[in-house]
Amino acid sequence: MRILLVEDDELLGAGIRDALVRALCTVEWALDGGKALAALRAGEFDLVVLDLGLPVVDGMDVLRSLRAGGGTTPVLVLSARDTPPERVLGLDEGADDYMIKPFDVDELLARARALQRRQRGAAVNVIEHGRLRLDPASLSVTCEGRAVPLQRREFMLLHKLLQSAGQVLSRSQLEESVYGWGDGVESNSLDVHIHRLRRKLYPEVIRTVRGVGYVADPPP
């Protein structure tokens, strides 16, 4: 899951980033509202975790700007503004969820998964794909009931492909979902991960579309 974290407090931001990375998300972290808007313009995200009291551009304005531009990315507001009117305002301006600081990390992750699931139109987190079963909460994958140990980036790649099953994803889309900003991407590492996934699961799980990218075909 590719997440844009917008938080001006360095210590808190670092903690949230660590927690998200451990949950196998790729995180881009913006320290002020201006940088957040720039990041939203530059790339696609599965979720925005947004603080409201931000320098340069206020969090509410970031949210309004995103929604005004037609952006449908789920937004989870994480704020110290705790009064009901403030929460109502946040939700009415287009936030999909609203959490008050201090918050529970597990709950934050669960809500992030829930938003993701809703975005996909599914009722449960677990993605069933033919013989495969992927659980984003426990970060586990089974193939015909057999647990398959996957590396971190392999899991992230598979998750992204299964989420958009039937849809051809470009190399850069896949790389974005696996590597955060600043992670070194070697030119052939994506191919390496695809190769390993095919070997650990079964070869037809991912189909190469020449010159475009990869797709996980929906099971028959």
Partner: protein, 481 residues
Amino acid sequence: MRVMPPRATSIRALLLAGTGIVLLGVLGPAAWLSYSGSEEEAQELFDARLATSARVLEALVARQVERATITSPIVMALPAPLEGDGHDQPTPLGHYYETKIAFQVRDASGRLLVRSASAHEEPFAPLEPGFSTRPIAQWSWRVFSLRSDGVWVQVAERDDVRDEMSRKIAFAAAAPLLAGIPLLLILVSLLIRYGLGPLSGLVRQVAARQPGSVAPIELARTPAEIAPLVEALNGLLERVRRALERERRFTADAAHELRTPLAALKVHAQNAVRAGSASERDASLQRMLLGLERSVHLAEQMLAYSRAAALGEGARAEQVALRPLLAQAIDVVQPLADERRAAVHLAEDRDAEPIMVRGERQKLLSLATNLIDNAVRYSPQGGRVEVTLSRNGEGASLAVADEGPGIPAGLRERVFESYYRIPGCGGTGSGLGLAIVKETAQAHGARVEVQDGPGGRGTRVVVRFPPNDSTMPAETNLERP
């Protein structure tokens, strides 16, 4: 030591007693004068009537009986029912009071010719013309003797009858004056009650107040005399309202400001618990420690701010030498300065006499520490913080300059608001440092100003203390404006 409440004096009782005394003092003598005047007039009138009846007797009777040969005196008898003491009701025959009026007619030699039944044989008084008062039998009588052409006419009236009547007349004249006193007192009492009505209203309003209700007092009618009291009370209520409002805001803000540091602590704690490796856990614990330090600093600053803003409670003003205080403050900030490789420099002392201000040592130290801490916090790596102390007329002037990013002109008031941090400054401060400086300065009657640093670079904060008057009592000096 117990303070005895002063004896309560009642305005109403004072006014009532005063009015009563004044009324008695004026109306009492007036009534007495009226009484005695009326009595005297009545006696004179009675005398005149006595004389007139003597003259009528003389004219109608005496001259007739003088020529007649009278061997034994003629007695003018009264109808039987009127004799003796009895009722005092008039009857168709006359009035029994007639026994209290008597006359005698004598010839020149003194022989009795005619007398009333109520008179005895002896002359009422020695035969000399004019008025006299004589005791006859057991009564005192008023007698008028008239002599004409060899006839003596003596007319007498019992004094007690005269006195009774004159007293009644005098009493009738004086009584209304005395009867007016209680009536007047009742009216005055009602007037006082009405006049003091707003005061009672004020008492009821103040007594009904809850600790938190600080709306101004409003009376239906406010007389000029208690308007200053109501005004002063409302002034006090307004100050209390503002203080309460500040406290309320401070508490709410504090709870709000704690959310982010607490959130950071919780996230890192949970990360440490779920860490996959020892190095990950250590990294999370290190960050937790940073967060704890920051929370501790914030809590300390909150405490310092609430103390600085406390309404001069327990204020112990003393003469404080500023230079040693500044040196102490620099020592406190030194570790942070070392961390940031900033140099804090206290300008040389060129003054022979130490520069003193009157105030609370602990609060002044907090002011200096926060000023220098703030300057160091926003200094660039290796920057220089210049602290200068100078005489400013009769007062003292303290300035701290840094080489930091400076404060835009538009924000030079806002930086003194509690929890205000300049956006994007990236500082790790609590947002309370300059607020503490301002509150403390105000409590000491000092003014704070933000200027450009030396050469237009950085920030210079100047605190100007008022003239140090060592005779000024602490309360005056520490009172907030």
